[in-house]
């Protein structure tokens, strides 16, 4: 397997369950047990009510593209081999947003509010990145 040279996330004690979930190909977000708000990215305590009583809940993995850009040049060196690639902000059905890549489609077919679903990219033994692909419409 080719060595993965791109920057990798360095999990914190409170984000580790998220990355462990990705490794099992499951997408998790946090939920505050007190104010019931969904939370992403992972926090040490609830940013809404400051409660430390957070739980991990499995997300459905579906969402919509809030915004995106297709990178054509001046990318960070490690990503130049991927050009053109798509960076997007995804809004999950649970209401939280995250940044990721959209893969498995031509850049020009990506649109705002397009429906996407998570796929998991096992980039190293330790790290799996959640990425998104278009949901194919069933006519």
């Amino acid at each position: 397997m080719k060595e993965y040279k791109k920057p990798l996330p360095k999990p914190t004690p409170w984000s580790k369950p998220f990355w462990d979930g990705c490794k099992r190909h499951e997408l998790f977000i946090q939920k505050c047990k007190d104010c019931k708000n969904p939370i992403f990215y992972p926090k040490l305590f609830c940013p809404h009510c400051l409660s430390p009583n957070l739980e991990w809940v499995k997300a459905g993995g579906r969402g919509k593209v809030y915004s995106y850009t297709v990178v054509h040049s001046y990318a960070p060196t490690e990503f130049s081999e991927d050009i053109p690639y798509i960076v997007a902000v995804i809004e999950l059905q649970e209401g939280v947003r995250l940044m990721s890549n959209i893969v498995g489609c031509l850049p020009e077919t990506v649109k705002c509010d397009m429906e996407v679903e998570v796929i998991f990219d096992d980039v190293t033994k330790e790290i799996t990145l959640p990425k998104f692909k278009p949901v194919l419409s069933k006519d």
């Binding site: 001046y74 960070p76 960076v87 995250l98």
Partner: protein, 394 residues
């Protein structure tokens, strides 16, 4: 009721030309800007009791020199200056430095404040600066692994804005056309050649929808301004320029956490600043708006109520913000014209607002300008700041 209004005035400005000057040490940028501001203000330098340098990116050691009072020594103010400390918020340092100075003066904790910015990001080793800026404000755990970087940041705002408002690539490109027209009139600007919409759009694509000509170019530079009490300003040579209102919101650290990339915090910030100043959109003579990428002046024009939602693109495209237009905008050329001097991009825009109100803007002077708005943003456009300045008290 704001305590500073009518009590505080800006009385002097200084600036060195922006550009790539490998042989001009950064300290020279700071010192020449300070000297010019002091001479311009007509104060005796010994009256300065507070120096606020903003942060510098190109070199950590230079930055700590600024923090550790190097300028106090260079300006011959040892044992005269009481405070030297840094105020730094990236691109919005302009607004927050002025706000800090206003607070200190109003509270009686300072009499004359010298605010100064200097950087050398234009002529430092290119790859080093690209790598530095690539990481700025980009969360290492949540965005960097997906190949996101500073130069792509404006694009995410623009894509959603175009989708929601129907604004076209041509209209976005026209912001560059407008800023370059002003830069052509500014001897301190780096990019003084005018461009057409086609030239902007036909340049190399960086991250859709923006091309290289829709991204700012790193530059060396330095600028300074002096703030004192309205009382002290009375017998100084320049017309005192009064800070009238401030408004601001911090809307994200990670771009993914900004719930409205098409408005940011400019609606709330503008309302707050107008109310404090006692003026409204119709009173604004000049809009000195932070650019970075063409999307931000459009969002800011709408937040300010100068344009209706979704109409700013057409407004700029039709030439209303050009020299001679009804709403002169970013009259130094902004970072898309004067150059991006790190935190200085915003400071240069604030200094230009002051210069215009003082009536010292040369061939690009907007005649009779009495009220100017300055906007600024830092990091990956994390915050939205509005400052209203006046040549008279309303």
């Amino acid at each position: 009721m704001s305590l500073f209004k009518g009590k505080v005035a800006i009385v002097g400005i200084g600036e060195v030309p922006s550009g790539k000057f490998p042989d001009r040490p950064c300290l020279q940028n700071a010192l020449e800007a300070c000297r010019e501001a002091i001479l311009d203000s007509g104060i005796k330098k010994e009256e300065i009791d507070t120096i606020i340098p903003t942060g510098t990116f190109f070199d950590r050691r230079y930055n700590t020199d600024m923090v550790f009072s190097k300028l106090v020594e260079e300006l011959g103010l040892l044992r005269k200056v009481k405070n030297n400390f840094q105020v730094f918020a990236g691109g919005s340092s302009s607004s927050v430095m002025l706000k800090t100075a206003c607070g200190l003066i109003t509270a009686g904790l300072a009499k004359i404040v010298l605010c100064v910015q200097s950087d050398k990001v234009g002529s430092s080793p290119t790859q080093q600066m690209i790598d530095l800026f690539a990481t700025f404000g980009i969360p290492e755990e949540w965005e960097t692994p997906f190949g996101f970087f500073m130069a792509g940041s404006g694009s995410l705002f623009a894509t959603r804005y175009m989708y929601e408002t129907g604004t076209t690539p041509e209209q976005l490109a026209s912001v560059v056309v407008s800023n370059r027209k002003w830069a052509a009139l500014n001897p301190n600007a780096m990019l003084r050649r005018e461009l057409t919409v086609d030239e902007v759009l036909n340049a190399k694509m960086v991250a859709t929808p923006f091309t290289t000509r829709e991204g700012n170019v790193l530059a060396d530079g330095g600028a300074a301004f002096i703030v004192t009490s309205a009382e002290r300003a009375k017998d100084l040579p320049n017309p005192p320029i009064y800070p009238l209102g401030f408004g601001s919101r911090v809307c994200h650290y990670a771009i993914s956490q900004n719930m409205d990339l098409t408005r940011l915090g400019f609606y709330e910030a503008s309302q707050e600043a107008y109310e404090m100043a006692g003026v409204g959109p119709k009173d604004v003579d000049i809009a000195e708006l932070y650019d970075g990428y063409p999307i931000f002046p459009l969002i800011t024009l709408e937040g300010l109520g100068i344009c209706k939602r979704g109409e700013a693109g057409a407004f700029v495209y039709e030439g209303n913000t050009w020299p001679g237009g009804k709403m002169p905008m970013t009259t130094n050329g902004g970072m898309l014209g004067q150059g991006h001097t790190a935190a200085g991009g915003g400071v240069a825009i604030l200094v230009e607002a002051i210069r215009q109100l003082m009536g010292k803007a040369g061939t690009r002077q907007v005649k009779g300008a009495k009220i100017a708005v300055e906007s600024s943003m830092g990091g990956t456009f994390m915050d939205s700041h509005i400052v209203i300045l006046g040549r008279e008290l309303p």
